[in-house]
Symmetry: C2
Subunit: 433 residues, 2 copies
């Protein structure tokens, strides 16, 4: 089965996941005995626990096992008995695993299905937290983000190949939420707007010094140096990212202004006018927030400004176990309250918080569109399962941001008595001079 | 001694508190025996514990007891032995009490003295929290904000007479932090700008409904109704304030749009498009935040927007014991982290936090200037001690905001998956049409 090319794919257009178009083939186990009453009961229970989404369950023989509502909006097709059993033991994890391997399929739009799932989960868990605690028990602890653990976790995701990321990120390769003050702007423009927005919040002046904790392929640091005349020291433990970032700095003639250090944020040295961290906090782990606060306190001058940009949540819940296992080991999106645990021990004063949740949906829609355009190349680089896994990751992230299961917090702060503050935030929105 | 009139007083000009200009009169106890070594040691210890501010101590005989630095910037004059003893037992409380009664005086500017005090306290307590915990033990619990306790606490401050507040508040009588996007605007313009800023953050549309928890003399509710065409139900337990607010609504022809309810926020009834609370949270008490969150969840429609505006802190510490005893019983300025304890149980998503700390310094400078202009009238209404107490309250509040001991947080929120959001905050800063 040759995948369709999606050259006409644009963000916001509806699409069907590759797997949905696969004809359900006759399964080897079509002669297996029917599902037992116990299995049916357990599956019904699992679905009730995630908030009873309006769906139907279809089995390998093409017959419907049950539906949760007279008119289900979506459905799950379970292609074999072992996938059903795995689903009963670890529903979230194994749904995703089986989806990637093709043992489970979704009826209708994958995005709709995942949005319904998130919506039900949010409704079911609001205030009670019971399901989330159960899941937390079930899912177990994530990889520890010790110095060596972090290196391993980051290597897992970010060192799978710069060429792969280049296929679907913007030209500057910024792998974090962009900023779309006008929703129809291009991804490239929105990524530049994000860095500009951050620089304006930090009120960077030429000649000032900035330390960046977690710098990806250097897009933010290079933009700051080029357009704001600052000197940046940027830390990252992803070897592949740092190598490319250094090369880009040399090519842009900015090597004297931007220093890329292949080291952990905990080893930041020096004092700076500004601290910035965009999309690293998700990998830090709440148990290390106090340590991160110590680093910021050590690194920031008395009149310094700081900004942390991170995926977040409205209530504490572990990351989806499949995302945590396959995509982002050791990752956790904090609540805003948890983020303040970084700043409060040193009495940093929050000056500005902005929630950019829907900007991440839009960023992801752009990434997904480019990803689908390059599906064939991804399959050549990796394999079919990888193609499906990365699609599931991108689509489920869109669903999570669209439904509010994930948020995006930009938190700007200073020391408590810093009186060098603008009288309003209008300067963030003034036309550039 | 006739107090000088301060007709020329303008915000930001330096001034000397009335007491500082009083000639230090010969005291009856000038023949009392000298201060003991123990008393001197204890006083030195107290000063060290508050962070060793650079000051000198002068006694009733005009002689200096000691100085903490070769060139002290300020000093404390203790006019009699019993004031010294009271100072040793409960330093913060009794410093203020004795200042009000005239038994203790300050050398130099009162504002400078209080700023130094706050600065030292902040430096001494950053990260350790030891002093604050000791103070918390020392100061004991504030009045409980039960339904009846709140009524008593609010009556203490807000029912001392509308005529008194009219002397020094703006014409609309808004007794909360104003918003000065241009620092030289008038108090009246800045109070109107504050309500406009809040209404824009809430994106109020004509015909929508708003519930206000704690409404003072009705300034915010009336402004919202008049300029944004919304219907407001506003709650307040201060009898004097509600009476005047109702009268103002009738006079403005807004009685059909604004309903003032003399009742506790916990008894809010109905569902609304917006929830707003400006300057009430300080009186709620952290132990009631969960209850307040329940009220907001009950009162807010699924697509509703909420805003809480409150004095805050960067680290948890009890209010100054004198302010808590004499000015605001039961009051406590929360950390932003504590404020999120209102929103997190119901998974409200914070969309925007803005810190308006220096706007409160400026608001207070305006209030103090008007207060000083009307000092003679205040003395006629009350007495000398009241005049000094209120001055101490206003000046110490300026010092607290200037130094960062107090912050001002405006927190705007929605339900987590509300997608009716603007793509940027530029609309807050666009010129009015």
């Amino acid at each position: 089965m040759k995948p369709e090319q999606h050259d006409q794919f644009t963000p916001n257009s509806s699409y069907t996941s590759g797997l949905n178009r696969v004809e359900i083939q006759a399964q080897d186990d079509k002669h297996t005995p029917p599902v037992s009453a116990l299995e049916r009961w357990l599956l019904r229970k699992v679905i009730r626990e995630i908030g009873d989404p309006p769906l139907r369950i279809v089995l390998w023989d093409g017959k419907e096992l049950f539906r949760t509502t007279p008119e289900p909006k979506t459905g799950v097709i379970i292609h074999d008995r072992s996938a059903l059993r795995r689903l009963l033991s670890k529903p979230s994890l194994n749904f995703c695993e089986s989806y990637c391997s093709g043992d489970i399929d979704v009826e209708g739009e994958l995005l709709t299905f995942l949005e319904i799932f998130h919506q039900c989960r949010l409704t079911a868990t609001a205030d009670t937290g019971i399901y989330k605690r159960r899941l937390a028990d079930l899912w177990g602890r994530s990889n520890a983000n010790s110095l060596s653990g972090s290196r391993e976790n980051i290597h897992h995701h970010y060192d799978i190949g710069n060429d792969f990321y280049r296929l679907w990120l913007d030209t500057e390769m910024q792998y974090t939420c962009a900023y779309f003050p006008a929703p129809d702007m291009s991804l490239e423009a929105a990524q530049a707007a994000k860095v500009d927005h951050v620089c304006r919040k930090l009120r960077l002046q030429p000649g000032e010094t900035v330390v960046e904790a977690g710098c990806g392929w250097g897009g933010t640091a290079l933009h700051m140096a080029k357009h704001y005349g600052v000197n940046v020291r940027a830390y990252n433990i992803s070897h592949e990212q740092v190598e490319l970032a250094r090369q880009r700095a040399r090519e842009a003639g900015l090597a004297n202004q931007v220093e890329f250090v292949e080291d952990d944020y905990r080893n930041i040295q020096g004092e700076f006018d500004a601290f910035v961290s965009i999309g690293m906090l998700e990998h830090v782990g709440v148990e290390h927030y106090r340590e991160l606060g110590d680093v910021i306190n050590r690194a920031l001058r008395p009149d310094g400004r700081g900004l942390i940009h991170s995926i977040g949540q409205t209530q504490s819940a572990p990351l989806n176990p499949w995302i945590e296992k396959r995509i982002f080991p050791g990752a956790y999106p904090p609540t805003l309250r948890e983020m303040l645990g970084i700043l409060e021990p040193w009495a940093f004063a929050v000056q500005d918080v902005e929630n950019l949740r829907l900007h991440y949906s839009k960023t992801l829609e752009h990434w997904l569109a480019r990803y689908e355009q390059h599906e064939a190349q991804v399959r050549e680089m990796f394999d079919d399962e990888f193609v499906r896994a990365w699609r599931l990751y991108l689509v489920s992230s869109i669903a999570a941001f669209n439904t509010g299961a994930l948020q995006l917090f930009q938190v700007m702060f200073t020391r408590p008595g810093n009186n060098d503050l603008p009288w309003s935030r209008a300067h963030l929105y003034a036309d550039k001079t």
